[in-house]
Amino acid sequence: MSNSDIYHEMIVDYSRNPVNYGRIEDPDVTFHDANPLCGDSIDIDMNMDQGNVADIKFHGHGCAICMACSSVLTEMVKGKSIGEVRRVGKQDVLSELGLEHLQAVRIKCALLSLKVLKSALYTYLAKQSGQGHDADSLKNEAKSLY
C-alpha cells in the first residue's frame, strides 16, 4: 500500500465539504490548538446540555487528513454524553476513515481535532464546580494523545 492511498474518495470529499464546519455564537466552551511543526490550526466550539454535547462545530485550516478527521470526529460525538465522548480514542477516529496505517508524521494531522475536543471538554469540566479531578485526568489524556 502506498502512502497516498489515504486520499480515497471519503477523505477528499470530507476535506472539500467538511461537516460541522463553522462557529457557534457564544458557545459554552471553545478551544484552540495548532501543530507547531506544520501550522495546522483547529478551533472547536461546543454547547453542552445536561451533560451531553448539544452542538459542536469546528473551524480552522489544515490538510485533507486534518479536515476529514475533524468532520468525522464532530459527527461522532454530537449528541453524546461527556462519558461517551471521553471514551472516544484515536483508533476510533483513524478506523472511521481507514487510516489505521497512517505514517507517524501524519498522525498529528489526524488527531489534532481529537486533542482539541478533549481539551475543550476539560476546559468545560474545570469550569464546573467539583469536577476538578476529572478535568485533570482529561487534560493528561489530551496531552498524551501523540
Binding site: S2, N3, S4, Y7, G39, D40
Partner: protein
C-alpha cells in the same frame, strides 16, 4: 530553453542521489533550502579525519593533534577566502546560522541595545532572525520593527528609511536570500542606508552562500552568518563572520576551555580572536567536512552554481505557469531571486501535495518554512516549496510537474 551551464555530470558525486525510495522510485531531492545532500569528498573527509587524524586541537604536542589542528584551521583559511574576509580572525565556527545570530544577540546585542532602542528586521526572515531579537528587546525594553514585503516578494525599502530616520535604530538584520520566496535582498542599498545612519548590519547568508558568489568585504556589513549543511557540508557547523573592529569590542559568548588565556580562581583573561568565541572542543570533523564542501563548490565555481540554478528556476516558473490553479509566490525577475520556488495548488493543502509527490519519490517541503511572519503576510497557512542545488536537473522539474498532475487528479481539480 538552452541551459548556459551543464552540471549534470555532478550527480555522480552524490551517492544518495543514486538510491530509490518508496518502492523503487528514483530519489528526486528538491528540499535544498532545508538541507543539501553531501558529495563523496565531504563524506570521505569526515571518515578520513576519524580514521587517520582524530585528536583534540590547539593543545597537545603530538603528531595527531598537530594534524587535527592543521585540518581545523585549514578550513578557517578556506572560509576566509571563500567569503573574501579580510582576516581569519574574523571567522568564528558555530553550530549554524541560528547559533551565529544568537551569539550576536547575546554578546553584542546585550551590550549595545538599551531601553527605547530599535532593532529592525524584515517580514521575510526565518524564525532564527526574529526570535533572538524578540528575546533581546523584551529583556532590554527595546523594540523590534519590520521592513515589510511587497506584492512581488521584495522588501519595501521606504520602511527602512523611515525606521532609520527615527534615530533609534541600533541594528538592521536581514537575510540575503529569503528561504521561502527566494528573493535576493538589495544588500548594497540596505547597507549603504544603514552606514549613512551609522547603524550596523547583520546579514543572514544561510540561503545565499551555497547558491551565489558572496563577498563580505563588498557587502560592507558588520555581521554575516551561514550554515555548513545547506552548502553540501555536514550538520552542526556554521560560521559567524564579524568585521574585526566590531569583534574586538565584543565580550565572550560561552565560557570554558580554549576561549581563555589565563584562568585564576576569581578571574580570567580571554584568548585572542577568534578563539575567544569558540569555547570547548568544537565540531572538528564537521569543520573538516565544511572545508571539503567549500573545495567542492569552488571547483564548480559559484557563478556557475548561480547560473545553473537560475536556469532551473526559470524552467520551473515556466512549467508551473502551465498548470491551472498553481499560484507561485515571489518575483518573476530571475536576477532578484534564487532557486527557491514556493507555491500553492488551488485549495489543496501543501501537506497533501507533498504526500502525493513523495509517493513518486519527490522530496519537497510543505508548511510554514520557519517563516510564520511571512505566511501571515501572504495570508496563507503554508506553501509547498521546491528548492534547488548544484545537482538538480530539468528532469527533476519534469518529474515534479508530472506528479502535480497526479495531485490534480486525486483532488479532482
Amino acid at each position: 530553453m538552452q541551459s548556459t551551464v551543464n552540471l549534470d555530470h555532478l550527480r555522480g558525486d552524490f551517492p544518495i542521489l543514486g538510491r530509490t525510495v518508496r518502492d523503487g522510485k528514483p530519489l528526486v531531492y528538491l528540499d535544498n533550502a532545508s538541507t543539501t545532500q553531501k558529495p563523496d569528498s565531504v563524506i570521505d573527509s569526515i571518515s578520513d579525519y576519524y580514521r587517520c587524524h582524530n585528536a583534540n586541537i590547539h593543545r597537545a604536542v603530538y603528531a595527531l593533534a598537530e594534524e587535527a589542528t592543521e585540518a581545523y584551521e585549514g578550513t578557517r583559511n578556506k572560509v576566509t577566502s571563500f567569503i573574501n574576509a579580510e582576516s581569519r580572525e574574523e571567522v568564528i565556527f558555530v553550530r549554524g546560522t541560528t547559533e551565529a545570530i544568537n551569539l550576536v544577540a547575546y554578546t553584542w546585542g546585550r551590550a549595545n541595545i538599551g531601553e527605547g532602542d530599535v532593532v529592525v528586521t524584515t517580514e521575510y526572515e526565518h524564525h532564527s532572525n526574529i526570535v533572538p531579537w524578540q528575546m533581546l528587546v523584551q529583556e532590554k525594553g527595546a523594540r523590534l520593527e519590520y521592513v515589510r514585503v511587497d506584492q512581488n516578494g521584495e522588501l519595501i525599502l521606504q520602511d527602512l528609511h523611515e525606521h532609520l530616520a527615527t534615530g533609534r535604530v541600533k541594528l538592521v538584520t536581514f537575510s540575503l536570500m529569503s528561504n521561502v520566496l527566494g528573493t535576493i535582498s538589495d544588500a548594497r542599498k540596505i547597507v549603504e542606508a544603514c552606514k549613512k545612519a551609522g547603524v550596523p548590519t547583520l546579514i543572514d547568508g544561510a540561503q545565499a552562500v551555497p547558491h551565489m558568489p558572496v563577498n563580505v568585504r563588498e557587502l560592507e556589513c558588520d555581521f554575516f552568518a551561514f550554515s555548513g549543511h545547506k552548502m553540501l557540508g555536514p550538520t552542526g557547523i556554521g560560521v559567524l563572520w564579524v568585521r574585526k573592529p566590531v569583534l574586538e569590542t565584543m565580550g565572550p559568548f560561552h565560557g570554558g576551555g580554549d576561549m581563555i588565556r589565563e584562568v585564576h580562581k576569581y578571574e580570567t583573561t580571554w584568548n585572542d580572536l577568534p578563539y575567544k568565541f569558540e569555547a570547548g572542543t568544537p565540531n572538528i570533523a564537521e569543520v573538516v567536512g565544511l572545508g571539503a564542501a567549500i573545495d567542492y563548490l569552488r571547483s564548480v565555481g559559484m557563478s556557475n552554481v548561480r547560473q545553473h540554478e537560475m536556469d532551473l528556476t526559470e524552467y520551473t516558473l515556466q512549467q508551473l505557469s502551465k498548470i491551472r490553479g498553481i499560484v507561485v509566490y515571489g518575483t518573476r525577475d530571475l536576477a532578484k531571486r534564487g532557486g527557491v520556488v514556493s507555491f500553492n495548488f488551488a485549495d489543496v493543502h501543501p501537506h497533501d501535495v507533498a504526500q502525493i509527490l513523495d509517493d513518486a519519490g519527490i522530496s519537497v517541503r510543505s508548511g510554514h518554512h520557519c517563516a510564520q511572519v511571512l505566511m501571515e503576510k501572504l495570508d496563507v497557512a503554508a506553501t509547498t516549496r521546491v528548492s534547488f542545488c548544484v545537482y538538480n536537473t530539468k528532469e527533476d522539474v519534469d518529474a515534479l510537474v508530472a506528479s502535480l498532475e497526479r495531485v490534480a487528479e486525486v483532488f479532482k481539480l
